[in-house]
Symmetry: C2
Subunit: 414 residues, 2 copies
Amino acid sequence: MPASRLPVDGAARRVGVTADEVRRHNLATVLHRLHRAGPLSRSRLASLTGLSRSTIADLVAELSSLGLVEEGPGLAPSGPGRPSPMVYARPEGAVVLAIELAVDSLSVATVGLGGHVFDRRRVARPREQASPAEAVRDVGDLGHPLLDALPPDHRLVGIGVGVVGIARRSDGLVHLAPNLGWRDVPIGKMVTAEFGAEQPVMVANEADLGALAELRRGARPGVHHLIYIAGEVGIGAGVIVDGEPLLGAAGYAGEAGHTLVNPTGWPCRCGATGCWETEAGEAALLRHAGLGDTATGLAALDALSERAAAGDSAVLDAMAEVGRWLGLGIGNLVNLFNPEVVVLGGLYHRFYLYLASAVLQGARSQALAAPWSRVVIMPSVLGADATLLGAAELALTPTIADPTGAGRAPAFRT
Amino acid sequence: MPASRLPVDGAARRVGVTADEVRRHNLATVLHRLHRAGPLSRSRLASLTGLSRSTIADLVAELSSLGLVEEGPGLAPSGPGRPSPMVYARPEGAVVLAIELAVDSLSVATVGLGGHVFDRRRVARPREQASPAEAVRDVGDLGHPLLDALPPDHRLVGIGVGVVGIARRSDGLVHLAPNLGWRDVPIGKMVTAEFGAEQPVMVANEADLGALAELRRGARPGVHHLIYIAGEVGIGAGVIVDGEPLLGAAGYAGEAGHTLVNPTGWPCRCGATGCWETEAGEAALLRHAGLGDTATGLAALDALSERAAAGDSAVLDAMAEVGRWLGLGIGNLVNLFNPEVVVLGGLYHRFYLYLASAVLQGARSQALAAPWSRVVIMPSVLGADATLLGAAELALTPTIADPTGAGRAPAFRT
DNA sequence: TCGGGTTTGTTCGACCCTGCAACATAACTC
DNA sequence: GAGTTATGTTGCAGGGTCGAACAAACCCGA
């Protein structure tokens, strides 16, 4: 119950609703809660959803017959009154293949309803290897064994792909991925071909997925307004507004890395000057640490990590300077979005210890008192798994939103 | 049908739905379309909402008995087949009092369903007069005659207030209004007292209301992602995402004026340095035009306007410089929000002619190709009326969202 | 001028979903 | 072991929408 919300009136109100849509909505509501909050008793489900016990019984029965939930052996924490058996989401009832195409690695995982990770694989990926076709083939080599290992009763319902770049949701086209050297790559179609999937393949930006993962599986379950800052080579922001991902008109929203913060700063790969990521991105960190533009990539970061741990003052100063810029940009986002939580991921998660104080100071200096007073800045709790888990959440979403699958279209359906 | 939208699954899905809520939703859907799109035939309503003809007949009958719509004399543009009488929103069925507390003026208007303006009043307001109590009393002097002039069958359903400052939606508290010299002013309660209103009084920021007005009554009816830039003394941004106002956790979202764009720039009233509004706000314009900090207020802007019209090159250069900064900030917003339209209001609407080319150039240089390719930058079509009309839309919203009024609470209910 | 074609409004019965009330069940408590 | 309390179950009622059949009103062409 977001107190500050206007009476609904926009997009959601544009179309009429009928009885079967009510059913679908309520099935989705129950399944969503079980997926996100874990096992719940039926009576708790009733009070959380506002539906009657009889309706909950009916809904649970249908979800159970679909194989999506089961009533477990456990009982709710006991008190007076008849004990209530717990209802669980069945991970085997809906399984997805999650794929992450990162700068330095490729990852895949099989994940089931409720967030259960069946298995996962990760391989390092040299930054030079730039071909999308090779990457997809490698992902296939990683993913096929995982799918083959899945018992036949485990139902595969979708594939989710997270990619470091600007992705269009509607068809899985990667418009631009500078860190991979990709441009207009139809990664959705390629993954579909690789796995011969009848299931929908959904592609999204790593920052958007990090935000989704932190929203659903992060440290603050009740949060509805969240920003995830993905610091890799560049900076991306995944924004959750009122529990929904902010996508914008075409799904390109959240490109915070390319907002101007310093007109007298460094030229950015995007063509502009003084973008946030030129001041607070990986390159800035290495630059300030005296590693210049020559040293890049994983090895440089490892070196940085060691020197920071050893107390190298040049590195610590670099951290403070980058942290300050990072904080200033976060202040901007706080003023724009008024979030409850800002989660730092990727690079910033790794070096949070050294960045934290400068980040907080920078953000505090830029943010207005009103939005600042209630925001929490914190490192990612999912760490390196955020994007991969977000890809799983993305792929599970259609099944949760429509458990009976009546309204499902084949691929690229978002 | 926003193609790029994830399957709904967040906040809206958290709670169960019952039959009467379906009815309310469908009544709201029909009324909303009539309010926003104007008269429609019943068959058109059916095809737009996806509901059957019988249901539409029933819904229209109920709305008609509530006095909110009526079936007009006009007929739908003819073709083969039985002609369809038009359904109109009845302005008298739901009337609101809209109030605008601007820097240089106070305005009130009575506005009915469908956006019909019954009457309006505006008085100049010297910038020095800072007392909230005086302002509310002046608004009362303006508003009472308008309400008294309303025939008894005209149903007053609410009061909407637009204010130049940071307002909390939940209770109408103005947290901070630097341009009015206000701090923690309970303007909602004061307006309620002034009008002795049983109807809800809703308070919002002028930029948010400008955005709402441009969304519903602006030049591009089909748009769902819109940003309204309110340029007065400072800069505020009203953001519409997927047809809904972006409020953030506490309603403070959209403070774009206080995002850092130039660390070596001027000190801002907010305490930080180089905020967008120090580079592209009214003060910057006067500064660049050589009017320094001494000349402020309406007179200075009028002088500027005359000199610009006369071709004064110093003023035109100032416009270009401010326009460039304005454009850079707009580029930032385009990258962050991926909107379909950016509407320039207030100061920027007034001087659009002189700003336009620099704005476009600045925005183009900062925005990424993908979001830039589909965005339209344009001056407000509502001009000085934007905030006032937005306040009316805000106050009408609860009635539209729940035409029967079953779920209505007294005041400050949002 | 008239009849066929077409589209729309109306009516009525059926279906679906949820809520309610009454009852059954199973713990806890004293 | 009986009373208390909370939960699951069952059957029925109510509300909302849909679909089909019918009626109404216009256009068009002969």
